[in-house]
């Protein structure tokens, strides 16, 4: 009996009251897919507006709301929770040989928080005083003075933060307590190391955005004045508190993505990962160093030169553990037997796009250059390379990799390749153009644009259509496969971590018997049939 089979009275109720980590992972996937497409639609509308330099299609006020809600949805509802909530939930317990997480009911509560937060955020689009227009960063003083639904939106983010915290807490405890006999720390798959490092960031820094958002609400209602210079407050303190969370948050976004890619590459190179310990500990290093670079978002805000110097230096340093991973993935491919399955193609694309994003990050981490690039389309290009080209593509890679296991169906690879081509082309037309435009001076979050940027906008918007078309093919293909795909075997890709030893889809209890682990996770037997 698989976890998908009818349980009890069946139906939606049995799903939304289930504490089975696999069902919860699927629940996250379903809700997140809807939210992702909502976020994509907002992006498409923004791009349409820029087909014309001046007033067109939407008002300036609406445009402000568009980029705000696009950011809120994509960041808080897709990129941050994405890999941990879907694949961490579904696969981490299986990868360590457990039957579920440490606190299954808390896991369900995390999902309820997620759905509630998402609902509140969507409500803020329509209710009362209009969708928030501050940007997803909610900087004071505007976030305190604007009449739009800021309180509702930040409260939504607060509730979403609770979901993240509880998930992180659950995962840390699970990894410490529920590993199968013989699974030492150095025998854990690297996706688990990634989830573990991420969970610590989730637990330690999310509360800080929580309290920061509460303060915004308090300021809106009571005008306490803690960020108001006329009362002695300092708006820069808001920025500090905001970025103390929001910078490490990007590592919540990227580390699990790196973890997923680290699972995929060995499987399709039929070779053990190069440098297991380097990858494991670099995840920890990224979490640690990533927590002390936040003020690189504030170089032009008025922080001291000393702070600028230190944070810039640390920003360069934090790139090193990421680079170590890139070297190790590449070295894994060397002399491997490479099969370019769709999941592998997306995973390797991740490495490329993430590298571009990471390198642009180094460039803008230099103080002098930052003055020129801050708040331009360069920044927008940078973070889309890392968050979308990075986490997004890794999410799709993970989905393509683990789909047969999760749903017991194979998908047609040809549309997946077509989707990739559309997406890769569209992505780079869109976001590389942004890098160029930004370096030329196009400011972000601007409704109108000057004539010299018009060609760039046209190219970017065309790219966005290709990208969206590719996404439609990708998702459409998988949805068709859910119904019509041929049944998947236990191990369609020849993987050797624990999830490939159990049926597709897995039984509710995961394992008939908890395995005893005697080797590391990536020992490939060259004679084993794929």
């Amino acid at each position: 009996m698989s976890y998908l089979d009818r349980q009890g009275r069946g139906g939606l109720w049995s799903w939304i009251t289930s504490t089975d980590h696999k069902r919860i992972g699927v629940l996250y996937l379903c809700v997140m897919t809807l939210l992702f497409w909502a976020g994509v639609s907002l992006g498409v509308v923004m791009r349409l507006k820029h087909l014309v330099a001046g007033d067109f299609f939407v008002s300036a006020q609406t445009y402000n709301a568009l980029f705000t809600v696009h950011g809120v949805i994509m960041i808080f509802m897709f990129v941050i929770p994405g890999l941990p909530a879907v694949f961490g939930n579904f696969f981490m317990p299986i990868l360590i040989g457990a039957r579920d997480v440490a606190f299954p009911r808390l896991n369900l509560l995390s999902w309820y928080c997620f759905v509630t937060g998402a609902g509140l955020a969507l409500l803020s689009l329509f209710a009362g005083h209009g969708a928030p227009d501050t940007g997803w960063t909610f900087y004071v003083p505007f976030s305190i003075r604007t009449g739009t639904n800021v309180s509702l939106a930040v409260f939504a983010a607060f509730v979403l933060g609770m979901s993240s915290i509880l998930t992180g807490l659950n995962f840390i405890t699970t990894i410490h307590r529920l590993r199968a006999p013989g699974m030492t720390w150095h025998r854990m798959p690297l996706f688990v190391w990634a989830i573990y490092s991420t969970a610590w960031i989730q637990v330690l820094v999310t509360p800080i955005i929580g309290i920061t958002l509460v303060l915004v609400i308090l300021e809106r209602f009571f005008n306490v004045g803690i960020f108001d210079p006329s009362k002695g407050g300092d708006p820069l303190l808001y920025q500090h508190m905001f970025w103390i969370y929001s910078h490490p948050a990007v590592y919540i976004m990227i580390v699990p993505a790196m973890g997923a890619v680290t699972e995929i590459i060995p499987t399709f190179a039929r070779k053990s990962i190069f440098g297991y310990k380097a990858i494991a500990y670099s995840s920890i290093a990224i979490a640690a160093f990533g927590s002390v670079v936040w003020a690189h978002h504030m170089f032009t805000s008025g922080i001291s030169d000393t702070a600028g110097f230190v944070f810039s230096l640390l920003t360069f340093i934090v790139a090193v553990p990421s680079a170590i991973k890139v070297f190790n993935w590449t070295a894994t491919l060397y002399k491997g037997s490479i099969e370019m399955a769709p999941a592998m193609l997306f995973a390797l694309t991740f490495v490329f796009l993430f590298a571009v994003g990471g390198l642009t990050g180094i460039i803008q981490g230099a103080l002098g250059i930052n003055v020129h690039l801050h708040d331009t389309y360069w920044i927008v290009g940078h973070f889309h390379y890392v968050m979308f080209g990075g986490t997004g593509f890794a999410f799709f890679a993970a989905l393509l990799y683990w789909f047969p296991k999760m749903f017991g169906r194979m998908y047609d690879p040809k549309p997946a390749y077509a989707a990739w081509l559309l997406m890769f082309t569209g992505f780079n037309l869109l976001y590389f153009t942004f890098l160029v435009m930004g370096a030329q001076g196009m400011p972000r979050r601007y409704y109108a644009h000057l004539p010299q940027f018009h060609t760039g906008h046209l190219i970017a918007t065309g790219g966005s259509w290709l990208l969206v078309a590719g996404l439609m093919v990708l998702f459409g293909n998988l949805i068709v496969a859910l119904r019509k795909g041929r049944k998947a075997e236990a191990n369609p890709w020849g993987g050797i971590t624990l999830e490939w030893r159990i049926p597709s889809p897995p039984p509710t209890e995961n394992f008939a018997e908890i395995p005893v682990i005697t080797t590391g996770p990536y020992v490939f037997n060259p004679t084993r049939p794929g």
């Binding site: 410490h176 330690l204 927590s291 922080i303 001291s304 000393t306």
Partner: protein, 95 residues
């Protein structure tokens, strides 16, 4: 795994001693705050963490816990201290 380490019991005497120490330290803090700003700040920076440490170590049983848990607490506290410390790279050096 059940029941094995629910074992360690902190004696009432230990708890009472810690409680008395906490009250005494609080008294010291109050006195120092009346003396001078320097004394107040200095005692606050030293005695307050000591008080917190006593609560962590004894009331919260941390002294008798496994090294793993102690490490976790250390990581959490260090994170907070680091944030405050690095904030001062900005605040203290503004022109």
């Amino acid at each position: 795994m059940m029941g094995q380490e629910q074992g360690h019991i902190i004696p009432y005497r230990t708890l009472l001693t810690v409680w008395a120490a906490l009250l005494a330290l609080t008294g010291l803090l109050v006195i120092a705050s009346r003396l001078s700003l320097g004394a107040a700040v200095w005692t606050m920076l030293t005695l307050t963490p000591v008080k917190a440490g006593l609560v962590f170590y004894f009331f919260m049983h941390l002294k008798y816990e496994r090294p793993l848990l102690k490490l976790m607490v250390f990581v959490a506290l260090s994170t907070l201290v680091t944030f405050i410390g690095m904030l001062f790279l900005d605040i203290s050096f503004r022109p």
